[in-house]
């Protein structure tokens, strides 16, 4: 108990230095938590992707459409249990800076995506009306929308004013499920295209196939693509995860650098705490010599220095973790709505931060411990700091 008290008192001996070190660690933990949250949120769509869904798109790019006629051909391939399709609608709702996915979808979209939980009565009403739409709970929350409200979108890919009546609000089954998307009938879009721009009618953005055995995803993907080989619209099929990964690959350099930076921060904290511990142990060289003289062994000295280092690093991390949640919440307000389907601190980020704190506490004390243990008692008494 007395040893713990000595560790505590040593840690607070230079209050300003200890406070600055604790603050430095806390700020670094906040920065680490924030960067990791951005990185994990960026990959949120990839992580949430199902293993039993394949995405088939135009082989050159997903911005080029595929014929509607492909649906039945894909559905006929063994192993494919259901096929849905979507078109990226784009458009603007209220403000250009506010983003959420708007999709013209086939009517079986909620069968293919069972993680979107929609009350049956809402689904039935949605099916009965042509200009009805389903929105995610996050959109309803962000824009204060409810069932029965009308959403008017300014079309850009598909020009014009588009009115949709909200007939359902889906909720996510899992924490990683995106509840920031809007779905409406593909037929509604297609009908208008037939009238206004017939060449763009009967086209599909991409197909989503549900497969009965995820282990066969590679084989089924090959079979789908083989089906359309040498056609004007060759396809590229891949798992939903690979598709989502490709979606964010253009930003991969930024994400990677953020990822690297988040871990560099750990190195910086280590240097800050290491510097504090080196200064502290240098100043106490004579005291450690006294303790050794009194019979304290190397183990005791290790315990004192390691304990002090761990105390400061854990205190800093604790303060950082206390503030990282409100900081992340505040940061979320400054990013466009819907930019990230989910923006919250993942448990892995917490685990990494706590593990980093423990590692830093140990690593920062290594050099001072080695120095003190290697200093002979008589040298310690002669030391002038």
């Amino acid at each position: 108990m007395r040893i713990l008290k000595l560790i505590f008192k040593n840690a607070l001996r230079h209050k300003l230095r200890s406070t600055l070190t604790v603050m430095g660690i806390a700020i670094a933990v906040i920065a680490f938590g924030l960067l990791r949250t951005v990185v994990t949120s960026w990959y949120g769509g990839v992580e949430a992707a199902a293993v039993d869904r394949l995405v088939t798109r135009q082989s050159v790019s997903f911005i080029f459409p595929l014929p509607l006629s492909y649906k039945n051909k894909i559905a006929s391939i063994p192993g494919v249990s259901d096929v849905a399709f979507e078109n990226w609608f784009g458009g603007v709702y209220k403000d250009k800076n506010q983003f959420f996915a708007r999709m013209a979808s086939s009517d079986n979209i909620f069968d293919v995506y069972p993680e979107y939980l929609l009350p049956k009565d809402q689904l039935n009403t949605y099916m009965k009306e042509r200009n009805s739409s389903i929105i995610g709970a996050a959109i309803a929350r962000n824009y204060n929308l409810k069932v029965g409200d009308v959403m008017t979108l300014d079309g850009d890919i598909y020009p014009g004013k588009w009115d949709f009546v909200i007939r359902g609000i889906y909720t996510p089954k899992l924490q990683s499920t995106d509840d920031n998307a809007m779905f409406f009938h593909w037929d509604y879009l297609n009908e208008r295209m037939l009238k206004e721009s017939p060449r763009r009618a009967n086209n599909v953005g991409w197909y989503v196939s549900k497969i009965s055995n995820s282990a066969q995803s590679a084989q089924i993907s090959e079979e789908i693509d083989a089906q359309f080989k040498n056609s004007p619209d060759e396809t590229k099929s891949e798992t939903e995860r690979a598709f989502n990964q490709g979606f964010i690959s253009s930003s991969s350099a930024i994400i990677t650098s953020m990822n690297v930076m988040s871990f560099m921060i750990i190195g910086i904290i280590m240097l800050v705490l290491g510097n504090t511990m080196i200064m502290a142990s240098r100043e106490r060289t004579r005291e450690y010599a006294v303790l050794k003289t009194l019979g304290f062994s190397g183990k005791h000295i290790v315990g004192l220095i390691l304990g002090e280092s761990m105390f400061i690093s854990c205190l800093g991390s604790f303060v950082g973790l206390m503030f990282v949640f409100p900081m992340v919440a505040s940061f979320e307000k400054f990013i466009p709505k819907g930019m990230f389907p989910q923006f919250h601190i993942e448990p892995i980020t917490m685990i990494l931060a706590i593990s980093a704190a423990l590692f830093i506490g140990i690593a920062a004390s290594a050099f001072p411990i080695q120095r003190v243990l290697n200093t002979k008692i008589v040298e310690g008494f002669r030391f002038v700091g």
Binding site: R2, R286, S297, V378
Partner: protein
């Protein structure tokens, strides 16, 4: 009376790069139990080095060191630390108290290495502080005490484990005359009343007068 400290042909050299710097040459010294010896000599004569060797905080280059029945030159670091904890009490010139601990906590430090209970430790600490006349200063921090009081706390820390030998390196070197006299009187009491064997290094003739005998060191030789 048996010799509690036996120093036989002990030499000590330090090395600076490849150059050997001899400090002590073939020192032979016996100190009986209950004796109070003052080691005198000019700066650099090797007094503190000899004291450090006898106290087990440094090792001889050659020779035999039998202290309190143990050949301490043959002990490993860990065993030597344990031996010091139970056999030697240290009094330093600059007191060397831990500034963030109270007088009570400083004196209690060596007892943390024993198996004594908290209550037993308290009893021992209070007893030691009462012997040095600081029973009313137990919760004071070193910076709240005078130099003489700090040295008395250091003496209490040195005797709290009831060691066989007390070693003191210039115990009055940092004190005014009055405080120095008080400390020397206290050390005399410890020797007479508590039968402590004391080895004191000093260059102050007044301090040396408190001892039973005085030995001089000159350039590493005991004369």
């Amino acid at each position: 009376m048996s010799a509690i400290i036996q120093v036989q042909n002990v030499s000590k050299s330090y090395w600076r790069d490849s150059m050997e710097i001899p400090v002590l040459h073939n020192i032979t010294l016996d100190l009986n139990e209950g004796e109070f010896l003052a080691l005198m000599g000019p700066s650099g004569s090797g007094k503190t080095t000899l004291l450090n060797l006898i106290a087990g905080i440094d090792r001889p280059t050659k020779g035999v060191l039998n202290v309190a029945g143990t050949n301490i030159a043959s002990l490993g670091e860990s065993a030597l630390a344990k031996w010091r904890a139970s056999n030697v009490g240290f009094i330093f010139q600059f007191y060397n108290l831990i500034p963030v601990l109270t007088a009570f906590e400083n004196v209690e430090l060596p007892l943390l290495l024993t198996k004594l209970s908290k209550a037993e430790r308290k009893k021992h600490v209070e007893s030691a502080l009462n012997i040095v006349g600081l029973g009313d200063r137990i919760h004071h921090y070193p910076k709240q005490l005078s130099g003489g009081q700090e040295q008395r706390v250091a003496i209490a820390r040195a005797i709290v484990t009831d060691p066989v030998i007390l070693v003191a390196d210039e115990p009055t070197g940092d004190l005014d005359r009055t405080s120095a006299t008080e400390i020397l009187t206290l050390m005399g009491r410890l020797n007479k009343e508590f039968k402590k064997t004391i080895l004191m290094v000093t260059h102050d003739p007044h301090a040396a007068e408190s001892a039973h005998s005085i030995r001089h060191l000159e350039k590493g030789d005991l004369i």
